[in-house]
């Protein structure tokens, strides 16, 4: 009873004191801002480039080709016939009157060739645009010469429809796969960000208490193990609060601008994700969080100064980065061997097993095995972590390293 009481006191204290910090506000704000930018990315880009029409001067002898070009209007590139000399055209480009000068000539087969003059040739968007138009011009001219009807051409160039059918009935359909890919992406990024952000937050918090020496008072009134887990849970609550804020803002945005965000959500396949995949996401997210959080708390208890906290969590960050890369690779090859193997390795399992569950039909026993290994590892880490923590919080040294794990455990022993 008393233990529970203290557990709650420490948990709420950790939660509330972190909730009030500037760092929390700033990080929440930054991530929100980032999400906003992501959602409105296209309209933001168009603000910078959209309203400026790019004028291109076109020189050609016949005067007929330009008609074809302007027939396919592109609202960003404006083709204008230019009647001056080449030198005049060039100088107008340098004076920025025109974005570029294009000289079109017909070769001996009656097909177009062109020269492109611009101040520099880094604006590949414009070049692609012009190239595309010229390509179309060439096709039109060539087929005209052969006397083929334009509608026939359109049919020829229409894309082939490829119906993909999986014969194995357990395998997910194309549509399901796309949906799952979206949610797997979201989950990967969320877990990755959270482990890095909150892992170092836990380690820093433990290190702060230790370096300010308040730790000795705390562990004299509550057992280090209670303290460690209360702290982990308090910070987990902080993380969930942040997710809740994002969701809330997301819902509000969704209601005000359904169209754009609806599109985004649809493209991530979130609009009709199945309940089971969401449950798996929550399960693997929590397991992943606790695995890394326990590790971070343990490592944080080893350092004597706050500055060292970030250094000692580097291996954790590396692990999650490796996991992240395997997952990104696995997105396109979820049935490869490396994905299958790493989905049982506890440090990667939260990402990789979820990816497999999301993208493929994985037999239940395999999921259970992976979850079992994960839970077992968390318990094992908690036991070792608690021991290291108990000794670590009393251990002060000039430099901190992994050798201190041994020292810390030594300190909790009888002799």
């Amino acid at each position: 009873m008393q233990v529970m009481n203290k557990f709650i006191i420490i948990m709420t204290h950790t939660y509330l004191s972190k909730l009030k910090t500037k760092v929390f506000y700033i990080s929440t704000f930054l991530i929100l801002a980032f999400l906003m930018i992501m959602v409105n990315f296209e309209s933001i880009i168009s603000v910078f480039t959209g309203d400026e029409e790019q004028k291109v001067a076109v020189m050609e002898e016949s005067g007929e080709l330009l008609e074809y070009l302007t027939e396919q209007p592109n609202n960003e590139v404006l083709m204008e016939a230019f009647t001056g000399t080449v030198e005049e055209g060039k100088s107008l480009v340098v004076e920025e009157e025109y974005e570029a000068l294009v000289i079109i000539e017909l070769d001996d087969k009656g097909l177009p060739e062109a020269t492109f003059f611009a101040e520099n040739i880094t604006n590949s968007d414009l070049q692609t645009d012009i190239l595309q138009q010229l390509q179309q011009l060439k096709v039109t001219l060539a087929t005209d010469q052969l006397g083929i009807d334009q509608t026939a051409i359109t049919e020829i160039f229409a894309p082939v429809t490829l119906h993909k059918v999986a014969l194995d009935e357990d395998v997910k359909t194309e549509e399901e796969m796309n949906q799952a890919r979206g949610i797997v992406y979201v989950m990967l990024i969320l877990l990755y960000t959270f482990v890095i952000m909150y892992g170092s937050l836990i380690a820093t918090d433990v290190a702060t208490e230790k370096s300010s020496r308040v730790m000795e008072i705390i562990v004299s009134s509550v057992s280090p193990i209670t303290h460690m887990f209360a702290k982990i849970l308090g910070i987990a609550m902080l993380g969930l609060t942040q997710i809740a804020i994002f969701l809330l803002v997301g819902i509000i945005m969704l209601q005000s601008k359904t169209e754009q965000i609806g599109g985004l959500i649809e493209s991530f396949g979130l609009h009709n994700a199945s309940i089971s995949i969401i449950l798996y996401a929550v399960l693997f997210f929590l397991l992943g969080f606790f695995l890394y959080a326990t590790l971070a708390a343990m490592l944080g208890s080893l350092v004597s100064r706050v500055e060292e906290a970030n250094q000692i969590v580097t291996p954790i960050v590396l692990l999650i980065i490796i996991g992240f890369f395997i997952a990104i690779f696995g997105m396109n090859a979820p049935d490869s061997q490396i994905v299958t193997i790493t989905s049982y390795i506890p440090f990667f399992a939260p990402l990789i097993m979820f990816l497999r569950v999301g993208l493929m039909e994985v037999p239940l026993w395999e999921i259970l095995l992976s979850v079992g290994i994960l839970v077992g590892t968390i318990i094992l880490l908690a036991i070792i972590g608690a021991k290291v923590y108990k000794g670590g919080v009393l251990l002060y040294g000039r430099s901190s390293s992994f050798k201190d794990i041994k020292k810390a455990i030594q300190l909790t022993k009888k002799e």
Binding site: I9, I10, T208, R213, S221, L394, L411, E415
Partner: protein, 299 residues
């Protein structure tokens, strides 16, 4: 309400930090715990609190083992001072006191009266990092005693304080003792221990070298101090049989002598040598005892 240590030993690997220590600290008692740096005082405290496991022996409070269930009756002021630098005094003390089983309302009421008593009533909403070191120490002292513990462990409570603050904290400690708290108290300052403690123990590399009541310790030490103020040099007394140590002072000298009889012989010796303004036989100070018992093995 007694704290009892029976044959307590602590080893770190091959290094014996505390060797076979036995103590008994009754209620209403302040127990002085002395020792040079690294003598094993803090290790002993940590064992009492259960932060470190003892290698052998037994530590009990009223015959029961001390564990986290008892944390509400124990107060601890560690030697290394520490509070949350970013938290306000109020938040800080409320958090720490709640971990010792107090209710928030009660904490604030008590805290107000303690801040008043320590003449810093406006510190309630100040951040700890804004306070001077001495004032931080007052706050930390309050955090150790606000829940009215039955057993209080003070590791160097007065270090780094100015004389006025030392007096203020000393008074508070005496009040707590009179209210029934058993206090274990460590210090390098012998005069504090002499003033406050009836019983004490001097640790030397983990071994208790002197232990008992202050009076008995002084009696069994045997040696006395002889203070002489005279108009002529007293150097010749350094070689006098029975004189252990000789220290020159501005007005004469202080001699440490084997026993009282030697003082009579010196008194005879001084007859007719000149004017003697002061001739006083004094008890040995704890400082003398400490230096002799602990210092001997430094050499």
């Amino acid at each position: 309400m007694t704290l009892q240590l029976k044959n307590v030993t602590k080893q770190f690997g091959n290094n014996v930090a505390v060797n076979n220590l036995s103590l008994e600290i009754p209620e209403n008692e302040m127990f002085g715990f002395l020792g040079g740096n690294g003598a094993g005082k803090t290790t002993t405290f940590r064992m009492i609190l259960g932060l470190l496991q003892k290698s052998a022996g037994e530590i009990t409070w009223n015959g029961e083992k001390i564990d986290y269930e008892k944390s509400s009756i124990i107060g601890y002021l560690p030697e290394e001072r520490g509070l949350y630098p970013k938290l306000k005094v109020k938040e800080q003390i409320v958090y720490l006191a709640r971990l010792r089983g107090m209710e928030k309302k009660e904490v604030i009421k008590e805290l107000e009266s303690w801040l008043e008593r320590f003449k810093v009533p406006d510190y309630m909403d100040k951040k700890v990092e804004e306070l001077s070191k001495g004032n931080q120490q007052k706050i930390q002292f309050i955090s150790a005693i606000i829940h009215k513990p039955n057993l209080l462990i003070l590791d160097e409570p007065f270090s780094g304080l100015d004389p006025i603050n030392v007096e203020m904290l000393k008074e508070a400690v005496i009040d707590l003792k009179n209210a029934g708290t058993s206090i274990v108290f460590s210090s390098h300052r012998m005069e504090h221990v002499e003033e406050l403690c009836e019983h004490l123990c001097i640790l030397q590399k983990g071994n208790p070298v002197v232990q008992g009541s202050l009076r008995d310790i002084k009696l069994t030490f045997g040696k006395k101090n002889l203070i002489i103020h005279a108009d002529y040099p007293l150097d010749f007394l350094a070689k006098f049989p029975g004189v252990v140590k000789h220290k020159k002072t501005r007005n004469g000298g202080i001699l440490q002598i084997k026993n009282e009889i030697v003082s009579q012989e010196i008194f005879q010796e001084l007859q007719g040598k000149g004017f003697v303004r002061k001739f006083e036989l004094a008890e040995p100070s704890l400082n003398d005892i400490f230096i002799e018992k602990v210092g001997a093995s430094y050499e």
